[in-house]
Symmetry: C2
Subunit: 587 residues, 2 copies
């Protein structure tokens, strides 16, 4: 039900309607949007603070420009809520029954005013350059506007885009949203220069944007609607590239978000009155402490550990480590490529880098995985989270890591099945000097296993010896493997073999050959995309041998916020479905 | 035999020996090195002009600093010849019989003064930051020096590295080698700012390096040994990050290289007296003209084509297209990520981007392939060269593209087998609006096929219908498939089936199922790495069916300048070896 039937926003079905209001009414609309941002993110989670900070930009843009002839491209698009409210989608913000109808990122399937599905940073300027070049090539008109945050500006792609934008000879507008924050604090020398620009009201002669060929305007209060409308009117239809550098307040209007920008960058559901998180399905039952405990032990043992992340310490609970061992912690900002190449340099010079990445963001550094880490074969450790089939937005889909890592030489990709194994593998990885080791952190409920103090080899572990069917249950699908054993016992009345393969990249040929003696069917289970994955490596090994193989994992496709249970059913990732498949094999 | 037994260089067995000479002798040594660079690259090819331009930097570095305690990291390392001459490897430059002993890039297996195997651009600053952080963490000392060219500075990783270097509080020295060239001309707004710095003798207040937190020195003549030695002495052991911006002449000392920096960036063997290329094994029998012909046709038909490349127009012969259709050509500089994200924007706005990439460099934009092109499922066309098992340096190994492209949703990866098929596929790709299409240009001798004017579907083509064995011969291994048919005829006395699979990413299930009727063995041939590749997809399809499969391609490993014939033998990529393997299958 519409929570605010009296809001002016109810009169806005698209950008044209925005132009009917007075400036004073538009200011009220901005405040209405703020309320909706807080209400929606309090209820279902979301990017509270980034959206609060940019509300006036969206209002001013749709007041001055004519979307979709004039096009705005939101970097990351995690700050596009106000834009969505003004482009026909206010129902997804004003009516809790329809929150789920509208996603957290821009989506061309939702609206003609959204041009791209985007969730990774630093792409907006390059996308805008492409749209502008296409406009010019086809002799069309219209403004192309890219929004880029100061945090995203540390990503190399943003720089590549700015460098190519700066040489254009036609319309291109970059709104540089400087809120003095990345996800956490900004990291890098760049931010000194930006500070000087702010402190001189944009007058400093040392100006990276002008250096790169842009015209430039500075807006001291980027949350002041009048200022924004004035500058947009002034530069609309400009015939060359320009940066509008605006100083905004991340979290503006909601005091808890203003005070704790890091927590409210992306927030799980919270109580509006107190800003406190609400107990909910967002489990905090993770392996974070187990990982930090191992790093702390090794630091105490005088190992030169460096725990590296790219602007997402919260994902790994790394603030605890930073507080205790500040010299052993490094946030490089949004700069995934640098994180790995730098780690290569560290490992070469005797340190022990441990790089923490989300599966979906690590792919931003694929060449660095290959050309720097794998080729140089140095003992960099990479800890990967969210490598899993999940309900995520398709912009953050994390099930491609096994394919993209295991196709590279030299990198061992370990897949622990429980907390103790994760710790033992991490210790082993940190104490060896032979190869890069990636470790795929299990993503389901925290499981426990044998507390063996030593992990010495990556051979497969035959956990249950049986007959007919052998199950290779990788990483956090090991528990699914256990359930499958049970289901086979119950339904098919025999004991299959259960194997923990330890590594997604290793073929333990002795173990595989031994299975040929009394198994007719091999089953592989992996929590990731099958195409190029672990199961296919097993298929290749057995392709000329007398045994059949069934592979279970995700289909090669993008899935946008689909419940995991639906995906599991679709991919036959339930014990019952797999047993039905086994029956068809007539073994 | 040593061509110059009287050279002072013969007295240099390592950096310590460099310090024994007078400045005047060092200048002579620099000239000796120049002669060797020209002689070696004239004989066996190589990076003539980059090495000529940086000779004095290497001499001054080893005179002032103490390698390997002080460490120099060469970006790309294609300009490390002088460094190699001064660190015990002069034999590889002065004695033609030993040219092959020393590679064209830095290599830790060659010398303790080389820290990394490097061949891709823009990594040096990040590697240096890592080494410096490791030094500080372990409370060690020594200077860390990164060399970065102005051309490489357009790559986003260089910016990420500079941004993270600029905030350091300890020694880090960046030698910014500004020779006003990338591989071809520099591209981007950045180069306007650098020009202003040069024209003001480094005094301009607008200084991107200072903006990012660096101290700064300018050297107007970076080929003047005295100036370099002075500035190096001045800043040695500095306690904060500094950029030494040096203005050098690419190709210095060899007039043809000075006059044609593009041609001599990397040159095949040439006549020293005339600068003309020598007829040799470097074949110019390519598909370049065939591709340009199709693009020209489509441009003439008013298709809004944009031919995009990232600083390597020579690799694709694109200068011809640029000359004829300058509006339909775009070099983005060394900025592979931008090239793809920009292309996504172009396709969304109605243009027809065709992005030209080397297999080894396209991997620098893996996230852009995934998150921008594949997720948004827009009709970007990508033309890929050097996706092949080759004798390349392991830094440029191009056999991973099938794994990294075919594991992504939505992208179709076509693999033409001859010139006419390549043209037909390219026309089809440009005229469809459904999906991103990548095309893998065949890399062997130019082959010809049926000049069918239409290419309408991606189903497998059964070229020869036979029995027992079916050969899926992908792309430029189609001819190997034909040879294999012949060998099976001759040796095993039956007619196998030969299939052109058309695409590395498509499973034509009808075609595959039809093979089950009268074939016991499927053979896949692909000119790339097997792990995650085409053959494994076939393995998975047949893994629960009554047929065996043998996959032929490269092992997952790095190979450094190994002759292709050796690799083929190792990987059983000859008809005779495959027939021997078939015999063992007892079909």
């Amino acid at each position: 039900m519409n929570k605010h039937p009296n809001y002016l926003l109810n009169q806005i079905n698209g950008p044209k309607d925005v132009k009917q209001f007075t400036i004073s009414q538009l200011k009220q609309i901005a405040e209405e949007i703020r309320t909706l941002i807080v209400e929606r993110t309090a209820a279902i989670g979301g990017h509270t603070a980034p959206n609060l900070g940019i509300t006036e930009v969206a209002v001013a843009f749709h007041y001055v420009f004519n979307s979709p002839t004039d096009k705005i491209i939101w970097d990351v698009s995690h700050q596009s809520y106000a834009h969505k409210c003004l482009t026909g989608r206010v129902k997804g913000f004003i009516d809790p029954d329809h929150y789920a109808d509208v996603g957290g990122f821009t989506d061309p399937n939702e609206s003609e005013h959204d041009f791209f599905a985007v969730g990774h940073t630093s792409t907006s300027v390059s996308l805008a350059v492409g749209m502008a070049q296409a406009r010019d090539l086809q002799k069309q008109s219209g403004n192309i506007v890219a929004v880029l945050g100061d945090g995203s500006a540390s990503g190399g792609l943003a720089f590549e885009g700015l460098n190519n934008a700066g040489r254009m000879r036609s319309n291109l507008i970059v709104i540089f949203n400087d809120n003095q924050m990345s996800i956490d604090e900004n990291q890098g020398g760049l931010y000194q220069g930006l500070k000087e620009l702010r402190e001189t009201n944009g007058q400093s002669a040392n100006n990276i944007f002008k250096f790169m060929g842009f015209d430039y305007r500075y807006v001291a209060d980027g949350n002041d609607l009048d200022s924004l409308i004035n500058v947009f009117n002034e530069i609309k239809d400009i015939d060359h590239p320009i940066v509008i550098h605006i100083n905004t307040l991340k979290g503006k209007g909601y005091k808890f978000a203003e005070q704790n920008k890091f927590k409210f960058h992306w927030s799980s559901p919270f109580d509006i009155e107190t800003g406190q998180s609400i107990n909910n399905n967002f489990s905090d039952d993770t392996y974070d402490q187990a990982v930090i405990d191992v790093l702390s032990e090794e630091i105490e043992n005088d190992q030169p550990i460096m725990a590296i992340n790219a602007a997402i310490p919260g994902t790994f609970g790394l603030k605890k480590l930073e507080n205790k061992y500040p010299h052993n912690y490094l946030d490089v900002g949004i700069a995934e490529q640098h994180s790995l190449t730098m780690a290569t340099g560290m490992a070469k010079n005797g340190a022990k880098p441990v790089v923490f990445h989300n599966s979906t963001f690590l792919q931003r550094a694929y060449d660095q995985l290959s050309h720097d880490i794998a080729l140089n074969d140095l003992p960099v450790v990479i800890l990967i989270k969210n490598g899993t089939i999940s309900q995520s937005s398709w912009t953050h889909q994390g099930d491609f890591d096994i394919p993209y890592i295991t196709s590279l030489p030299n990198i061992e990709y370990l897949a622990p099945t429980n907390e103790e194994e994760l710790q033992n593998m991490l210790r082993w990885a940190l104490r060896q000097n032979n190869h890069p080791i990636a470790i795929r952190e299990p993503m389901h409920n925290v499981e426990h296993g044998k507390s063996q103090s030593e992990f010495n080899d990556i051979n497969y572990r035959i956990e249950k010896s049986g007959e007919k069917v052998a199950i290779l249950a990788l990483g956090d699908f090991y528990q699914l493997g256990e359930q499958l054993v049970q289901e086979i016992n119950n339904v098919l009345h025999f004991n299959p073999t259960l194997i923990n393969p330890i590594s997604a990249s290793n073929l333990d040929e002795n173990a595989l050959d031994s299975l040929l003696l009394n198994h007719q069917l091999i089953i592989t289970l992996e929590d990731g995309s099958l195409s190029g994955g672990f199961g296919e490596k097993i298929d290749r090994y057995f392709s000329d041998k007398d045994v059949k193989v069934l592979n279970y994992g995700a289909k090669k496709e993008f899935n946008n916020n689909i419940p995991v249970s639906d995906l599991y059913r679709k991919y036959h990732l339930t014990p019952k479905q797999i047993v039905d498949d086994i029956k068809k094999q007539n073994i």
